[in-house]
Amino acid sequence: MVSPYFLLGIGLGLAFLLGLLGQKARKSSSILILVALFSFVGISFSWLWQFLQENASVTQFFSAGFKPPFSIALQVGLHEAVLTSMINVMGLFSFVSLWRNMKDGNEKLGPILLILFMGLNMLVLTRDIFNVFVFLEITAIALGGLILFDEKKHARSAGFKYLIASALISTIYLLGAVLIYFSNGSLYLDDVMALNNMSPMAIVAVFLLILSLVLELKPFPANGWALDVYQGANPAIGAIVSAAIGSTMLFLLYKLMGMAAFMQEFLIAVGLISFIASNLLALVQKNANRLLGYSSIGQIGLIISIIGLKDILGDQFLFVAFMILITHFLAKAGLFWLSAMLKSDELKAWSVFRKKSVLLVLFGIFIFALIGFPPFPSFYGKWTLIINLAETHNYYLIAAILIGSFLEAIYLFRWLGYAIKVDFTEYDEVKINWEKLIPVLTFGALLLASGLYMAHLMPGIEDITLWPLLFILAIYLLDFLPAYIKNTISIAALAYFSFIILPPYYEKDLLRFIFLGIFAIGGILTLIAGYAYKGKRRGFYPVALLMYAGLIVLIQAETTLSFFFGWEIMTAGSYFLIIRGKRSMEHGLSYMLFSIGGAYAILAGLGLTFAQTHNIDILSLASVTVHAKLIFLLLAVGFLTKTAALGLHIWLPGAHAEAESDVSPMVSAILLKAGVFGLFILMIAMGKNPEVASIAYILGWVGALTALVGNLAAAFQEDAKRLLAYSSIAQLGYILFALAMMSHLGWMTAMVYSLNHFMYKAILFLTIGAVVLRVGTHSMYKMGGLIQRMPLAFIAVLVGIIALSGVPPLSGFAGKWFFYNAVLEKGWYFQGAIVFFSGIVAFLYLFKLIYSVFLGQLKDNLRQVKDISIWFAIPIYVLILGIMFFSAKPEWVLQPLSDMLTQWYPNTSLSFDGLYINSNFGYWSGTGVMITIMIMFIVLLLWLWILSRKVVKVKQFNIVYSAEAPQRPETTHVSYNIFAGYYKALGWIVAPKISELWNKISDFVVSVAHFGRMIYTGNGQTYLVHILAFIVVTFLWFLN
């Protein structure tokens, strides 16, 4: 093994020698430093190789040929090898990223950087407690020097604050180190760790050491100086502080915690407080670098608490800590480097990355990695963390971690939303230099690679789930192709899936077959509409496929982990799909926040489950015994955020309405079914548990009220897509209600509704979307009379609304019929009545939709409009055929469904007798009704036709209108606020109380954040006071 002293030799030797070169030979000195940093990387990689491949054992290298404690030992083990590799890679790329800064006569920058990274290496390696102090100071001074070279406006005052803070902190460390020596006569870490019972002095000493390291890691609230450094310094230096120095200090803390088991609780508390508090305060932050600082502090806080959780996590500790650390390390460095490319500090300035889509993608990768989305390492880290915390019954910690993560998600996604949506014309264009680009690219690639690699290590993730992700990556690389080619590839991918993977499920698992079918076939159909788009449609296909991949993984999942994996992938993909819409920035954000909140509820629920079952099989939910109620509730809430149940629905209208025309059906008709599937799985597994009955009862009410409020709200909309979105909320309310009944008939209802909703909502959204593309507005009152211009669209909407309303003979009636029978059987009469009533209310909005858009007076500006694009018409009419088939031969679909459901509910009153479907209460023959009505309709049509063959078509304004002939269509098209009277009577039900509630909550949080961050006065002395107060308070706490 290469001796680590060569790091010292190379680093210092070169730094000293460079004085000889003088100012002229700057270029060659830069290259020499680069070589030195390369050699650092080489040395640490060689260690890594030896540990990973050759199973080398931990080796200590002693200085001066004596054994410690009489000399200083540098230890090289696997941990050290990993950490030094990270640091040295960071060092190399930091130097690259600062390449241009070296030009401006700052020839000292290189040696200082070299010494800084050498110092960090030594901090990782050394086992001598006082030596740590020396290298802490070297690090501090080197960093101070780096900041001093910084040309940014406030870099120097920030650097000064940093220096005085670190002077105080390192003195505390010095005191601790000296006391350690006096207490046991050794400065060798292993000696101290071997002590069985520590003297009081040793305990105080260890306390001071740990305290000062924690202070170095910027705990809340003693961290104002760090924030100022992040904000004030060059982002490339911020990257070093956050990624390299942060990681080093964390490792140091971990190393020294070997002798301070009694301080674990302290670490947990401090870490989590920092995690939550800094993420909270970050909510109101507008400066990108400072925001990154808050985020860094938060992440580091989380890792601090994980270090404190070492004993609790046991075997999993290293995995968890490393996963989160590596994500923080790569992502934060990447983000800071991205920031370094921009002139402006504003969050919104990041929108200029839109012009360089590679950078935007990298930005997205970093953000998603930080939040803990798959396939990034932090996903596995957080998963394992939560699972293990649940297993050890640390529920409050789970709550704290999830709250903190949620807060973090808020601002990070808002920021990403800015980057994707905000107008960037007022910001300077980003100029990409190779030396800025290379580090970011490398780290982004490393992040992806590490995530994909990690998936192999995790039990419960099948390799096959990663193939779609690689495929998506490939699609992204093909992004330069025109849309129709990518569309074809995407359809081919889904078609391949449909033909290869889907059919076996028919025999194996019908439930999954149905949902997979909805996702795959729905995916193909909605993608066909994509042919209507010209140009390249950059970024659309990767994210659409990401969503479909997530959905498919979700359904195929056999383990809770891959279920959650799919859930998150799907969320990520759909977020990008939604945010593509024109005005969808805030809707995308609220979608994401509700999704993440829901995902965390699911995570917590799955964690609690694992704690009891010790099994990640998804059906292990069934064997839950304790906390069944809580688990059921958490999971249900998680799924309900996706199905937009009342109270959790406020994201949906905007998100669905503002999405692109072919995206709306994807996210409405298809995506929502993911939540339904989740609920199905949940109820299959846990429905038999008597404890959950009461929650199911509540869910039934929630479903009923959702249906009511959704439909009522839809009736009062003026925006066609918003109307449909509210309609989706209501439909999902029906499904929730039906599922909650937990009976054979109830689930039949739910299945029928799911299938139907998929078809008619896809038809309606596709049609309306296609119309919107033609007319250029969502507002229904601006349309009208389009039946003359768009007969195809009209027929589609007509079929859609008849099916949706449940009027026989179309398939919607099947849902109503099952619904009635299920309600009567279950005895949920009042809820049932509410749902039924809301079903009637549906007529209001359905009429409004078809009337306002297609009937009434054709507007002048729409006289030349063409019928919907053929690419929209194809999927629409395929779906209409589907509805017609289902309506004419419902038993073909219903009988297998019923048979399938008998595996969970064997006692059913449902029987199939030829064309008849019988229950305890009633009977129904879909085919018979269809035939009867068709014949009758045709006969009557003929009757009218015979009697009135000489019908004359009159002109538009040829109506009897109070002796006046109207001239303008607008004056005779009554559409705006058409249900005013109804609103007067029942509008109170849909008053936006829930949105107000959420707004109040968010206002409250924001004001807390505003108030909280006032402690950061910007005065270096105040920061010192904070640190001192922190010391005093923890000292007092500790003496107790």
Binding site: I787, Q788, P791, V807, P808, F813, K816, W817, Y820, V823, L824, G827, Y829, F830, G832, A833, F836, F837, I840, F843, L844, F847, K848, Y851, N920, F921, G922, Y923, W924, S925, G928, V929, T932, I933, M936, L940, W943, L944, L947, S948, K950, V951, V952, K953, V954, Q956, F957, I959, S962, T971, T972, H973, S975, I978, F979, G981, Y982, K984, A985, L986
Partner: protein, 302 residues
């Protein structure tokens, strides 16, 4: 149950009876209304004359395809309800096609006609059509609330959703009628019936045609004839539905005619006495006493 042509004959005969009874009944009601208002009123055969006149008118205008289809939908709605409604207790031949679906089918098929009419009128481009329809739909939702509760109550009571079975269960004397055994459901149902018959005070829906405009004006000639034919059938069938649900059904045609007359008369009677509601008033009204009655009806049978 299988379909046969004899059945079809009985169905057509039943349709004829119902149509003529409906026309006569509407004349009777207008006559009664007029007499109460101390007018002479129309001749009893006037509806037939009107109908023939309408069908005979030659000039016919259309605003478009949906305008044309609207009456067809409407007519199908009326005839469809007739088809799925059992008329005479215990008679296979007079039970029409009720074997194809139960009460739920009838409840939902009501909308078929309404929807078609709404769309047809909507295409006429007349603003008042849209206003009338919006009011109609709004009021209709309110009517359905108590009616649903009443029907659920009955379904609980008789443990079935089949109208045939419900009627069967009420046989054997007046004391077995739902009106006695389930009075609250009957109250809710009959109050809802007021609304669904569309007489005052719930006739705001048709109000626009008093200032002579609105759907019936745009529709004239054959279209109006079709609509009139449908109205005659629909009124009888709505009365028949309530008869079947609450008043023991009919054992013969005489009973059918008597009961439907009385039920229909109930709405006219109320209409003569009370003034018209505005739409928000009528919606709110249905959410008061009728709704409470329905809730009580369910609670009693839970």
């Amino acid at each position: 149950m299988e379909f046969d042509f004899k059945h079809l004959g009985f169905t057509l005969l039943g349709l004829l009876i119902v149509l003529n009874w409906g026309l006569l009944m509407s004349a009777l009601m207008q006559k009664i209304g007029a007499r109460v208002a101390r007018r002479i009123g129309i001749r009893l055969y006037q509806p037939w004359i009107d109908l023939i006149k309408n069908y005979a008118i030659r000039s016919q205008i259309s605003h478009g395809i949906m305008f044309y289809l609207g009456p067809v939908f409407r007519f199908s709605g009326g005839v469809g309800i007739f088809l799925f409604m059992p008329l005479i207790v215990g008679s296979v031949m007079w039970s029409n096609y009720s074997f194809q679906g139960d009460l739920v089918l009838i409840m939902y098929f009501q909308f078929f006609g309404m929807l078609g009419m709404a769309l047809g009128a909507g295409e006429s481009g007349h603003p008042n059509s849209a206003i009338g329809i919006s009011r109609g739909l709004a009021q209709f939702t309110a009517i359905e609330a108590p009616l649903t509760l009443a029907i659920i109550s009955l379904a609980i009571q008789y443990n079935t959703l089949s109208i045939v079975d419900i009627v069967e269960a009420q046989q054997g004397g007046i004391q077995n009628w739902s009106a006695w055994t389930n009075p609250f459901a009957t109250i809710a149902g009959m109050l809802a019936a007021l609304g669904s018959m569309g007489h005052s005070p719930f006739n705001l829906v048709k109000a626009p045609n008093e200032i002579p405009i609105g759907p019936p004006t745009e529709y004239h000639g054959t279209f109006l004839g079709v609509l009139r034919t449908n109205a005659a059938i629909l009124h009888v069938m709505e009365a028949a539905l309530f008869m079947n649900l609450f008043f023991g059904g009919a054992n013969n045609w005489f009973e059918f005619i008597l009961k439907t007359f009385l039920i229909y008369f109930w709405s006219v009677f109320v209409g003569v006495v009370f003034p018209r509601f505005r739409i928000e008033q009528s919606v709110a009204w249905f959410f008061k006493i009728p709704l409470i009655a329905g809730v009580v009806a369910i609670i009693l049978f839970m």
